[in-house]
């Protein structure tokens, strides 16, 4: 049954430029669409972040009312997580994974296009609440009993939009797993796959198994709100805690859904700019699988204070996740150790990821201890923690990926001095915005409040945080200038500007629609290194040999 093709037609197309992008099933164009769409939502949610920080800069209600403020932080969290971080990493995976596998496209190109187009639809539905009397305002976790009683259609649109976005993720996950198992080039065994592909594989499994549970929860909440259901209404036998279970059964794997591909990006960038292979490839792979397995056993650590769960089990399992994560820290440090380091913009963002994610890991272990969490639950300490993981972790990796793979995507290198300016303003602004939140949390400032007492002693730290937030916004200016200037007059990149060793660097920049004219022999996870330098099995780096004739396992 021919529902899949090897690749898009390579003949001359008579379609217009716009129709070409609207109807494309090429994984590279879909990847670019994902990334552009995600960055548009990033800017929208970023503006909301500035609105929130401006309101909180000093005590008193500045220019928002409480309801508008609630909508702002709800939309900020929802859009950043579901329409920026997850899809932007999917976008890079879409572009890069088939190239790194030596494949001509994804396994299901048309389903790939569907997964993408559901995203802007879902995102606009979520945002459209603003047009119909107010967007959802219950926080990105949308806890009941707030969310099953709130008036207005904002929350209903939020539920429908997220269901669509979740469906897009599930279809994407099916596509990635099938691609990785069925589309690898001859010689590309599982343990020769680039680390980024491994992290995308484990991420896709998490999406596949966790997201449907959220979908079930979203549907249950929709039924409660619109059809008189009572899943979460205790007055007729429902249970409000059930929502938290359904949400976090997805919500915690979701944390790894956004961090694992980011770790994969960093594990591609560090070796390239250290001139060394990744230290401990297999340890990294097994640590990734370990994090994936453990992620399904820790969801209730978000619910310590409900009193409805068994604390020692969830505290213990959560602490266990520190072990494979620590393994990865040593993978990265071992890669840097005695490497020949080049501090390019991509490398700076990767190093920023390691240091910021380390802080996010340490303050995460702190709130994983139930007695500490009872003190810090729902304070700004938690806000600091999640931003160090999501922003200091994933978003730094997104920028590392942008500087690293932009030359492959568009054939031109981004300007390095502008990239470094971007990094330093971004890095300092990030820490100025979010480090004071640790202290605010310890001082007892609750999250999601629009105003606070001038005598609470929180004013200076809040003002600093607001200055940091605006620094982050300023750092985006050199980034955008860089992108535009590079499209106008960027330095041509050539096929392999960073001397990379994985297969995406073996084809032209940008790659042709069918990706590869010819593949180099694949004897290891670094085929281009051995092509250039030879190895014991294949000293002259010559063409396909008997080993490859056997095909991929």
């Amino acid at each position: 049954m021919a529902t899949t093709t090897l690749g898009p037609a390579t003949g001359v197309s008579r379609r217009s430029w716009v129709m070409d992008w609207l109807t494309t099933v090429d994984h590279k164009k879909i990847g670019v669409l994902y990334i552009v769409n995600s960055f548009l939502f990033f800017f929208a949610a970023g503006i909301l972040a500035l609105v929130i920080r401006s309101e909180l800069a000093v005590p008193g209600m500045q220019f928002l009312d409480h309801d508008t403020f609630d909508q702002a932080f709800t939309m900020h969290g929802t859009i950043m997580l579901f329409l920026f971080i997850i899809p932007v990493l999917s976008g890079f995976a879409n572009f890069i994974v088939p190239l790194q596998l030596g494949a001509p496209d994804m396994a299901f190109p048309r389903i790939n296009a569907l997964s993408f187009w559901l995203l802007p639809l879902g995102g606009l539905l979520i945002f459209s609440g603003y047009l119909f009397g107010g967007a959802a305002a219950e926080g990105w976790t949308s806890y009941v009993p707030l969310s099953n009683r709130s008036p207005g259609v904002g929350t209903d649109l939020w539920l429908i939009g997220l269901t669509l976005v979740g469906t897009a993720s599930i279809l994407g996950a099916v596509n990635f797993i099938t691609t990785i198992f069925k589309m690898r080039a001859p010689g590309m065994t599982l343990f020769r796959m680039p680390i980024f592909v491994w992290t995308v594989l484990v991420t896709a499994v998490l999406i596949l198994l966790a997201t449907p549970v959220l979908t079930a929860g979203l549907i249950a909440l929709f039924i409660d709100r619109n059809y008189g259901g009572s899943f979460f209404d205790p007055s007729v036998g429902g249970n409000p805690i059930l929502w938290q279970h359904l949400f976090w059964f997805f919500g915690h794997p979701e944390v790894y859904i956004v961090i694992l591909p980011a770790m994969g990006v960093v594990s591609e960038v560090l070796p390239a700019f250290s001139r060394k292979p990744l230290f401990g490839y297999k340890a990294f792979v097994f640590a990734t699988i370990g994090i994936g397995l453990l992620s399904f056993s820790v969801w209730a650590h978000h619910m310590f204070t409900t009193g409805a769960i068994f604390l020692p089990y969830f505290a213990f399992m959560t602490a266990l996740i520190g072990i494979p994560t620590g393994v990865k820290m040593f993978n990265w440090l071992g890669t840097l150790w005695r490497g020949k380091l080049t501090f390019s913009a991509a490398m700076l963002f990767a190093l920023g990821f390691i240091s910021m994610f380390l802080i996010g890991g340490i303050n995460g272990v702190m709130v994983a201890i139930p007695p500490v969490d009872f003190h810090l639950h729902d304070t700004y300490f938690v806000v600091a923690h999640l931003h160090y993981v999501f922003f200091g972790g994933s978003v730094f990796a997104v920028f590392a990926a942008t500087y690293y793979w932009f030359p492959k995507m568009f054939g031109r290198k981004l300007n390095e001095p502008l990239g470094k300016i971007h990094f330093w303003i971004h890095f300092i602004g990030f820490n100025l915005a979010f480090f004071p939140m640790h202290e605010l949390g310890l001082l007892g400032m609750p999250r999601r409040i629009a105003d606070y007492d001038p005598n609470a002693g929180w004013t200076l730290l809040n003002s600093l945080s607001t200055v940091g937030a605006f620094m982050i916004a300023v750092s985006i200016i050199p980034f955008l200038v860089n992108i535009i200037a590079t499209f106008i007059n960027g330095e041509p990149a050539g096929d392999n500007p960073w001397d990379g060793t994985t297969l995406e660097w073996a084809t032209t920049s940008p790659p042709p629609p069918y990706n590869f004219d010819r593949l180099p022999p694949i004897h290891s996870e670094r085929p281009l290194f051995y092509l250039a330098h030879g190895d014991d099995h294949n000293p002259d780096g010559s063409d396909l040999d008997a080993e490859q004739a056997g095909g991929a396992a």
Partner: protein, 204 residues
């Protein structure tokens, strides 16, 4: 790199050979999709057991004054749906031998049984006398059976497409992955019903 120097297009051809080995790509995709569906129904079953665990002793069931669940009708529906899985499998065995006539027959029969199941379920809904808003039992009952019914409907749409494609002679002993994919989905929907039926009707 210099890999562009040789303009051979052998790589995609080799890759095609690689993809042909093992399970067909479409089947891998369908099995993964079914895995996600298992988790979806897992979430819905979780709502059922959660509500049931929180109910006061002796109060679990349809609301006061409503008719009791029709066990006889549910057993009849179960027999219909399980039979449809068997007829589907006869269709698969037929097309594996290249017998498109038998495939047409068995697929049509499967489709009729599936539609009969849906009509029976609608009749059941009309007779029950309580609704989705009548307490938590009504909510979980209609959500579980309703989403299962929606999946039966989706499977019936798939069967209709298979039937149409069979009539156009698009399947053969070698080329019938779509039939295999729809059949495995149909079996999955059947297994979910056995779970729903045992949970709601038998687990008293």
């Amino acid at each position: 790199m210099t890999t562009q120097a040789v303009p051979a297009v052998q790589a995609p051809a080799e890759q095609e050979a690689n993809r042909q080995s093992g399970m067909p790509t479409v089947m891998v995709g369908m099995l993964l999709f079914i895995a996600s569906e298992v988790m979806f129904f897992g979430g819905l079953f979780a709502t059922y057991f959660n509500a049931r665990a929180h109910a006061a002793p002796g109060t679990w069931g349809p609301p006061e004054g409503a008719h009791h669940l029709d066990l006889g009708l549910a057993i009849a529906l179960t027999v219909i749906l399980v039979s449809s899985s068997i007829t589907m499998q006869f269709g698969i065995w037929a097309i594996r031998r290249g017998n498109t006539g038998k495939l047409k027959l068995w697929t049509a029969l499967t489709l009729i049984l599936g539609v009969a199941f849906l009509l029976g379920q609608l009749y059941d809904y009309s007779q029950l006398g309580f609704g989705i808003s009548d307490g938590v039992f009504g909510t979980v009952f209609y959500t579980l059976t309703g989403f299962h019914g929606a999946h039966v409907f989706g499977g019936a749409v798939g069967l209709t497409i298979i039937l149409a494609r069979t009539m156009r002679g698009q399947f053969s002993a070698r080329n019938h992955t779509a039939v295999e994919a729809v059949s495995i989905y149909w079996h999955f929907v059947d297994v979910v019903w056995i779970g729903v039926f045992s949970t709601i009707y038998l687990l008293r």
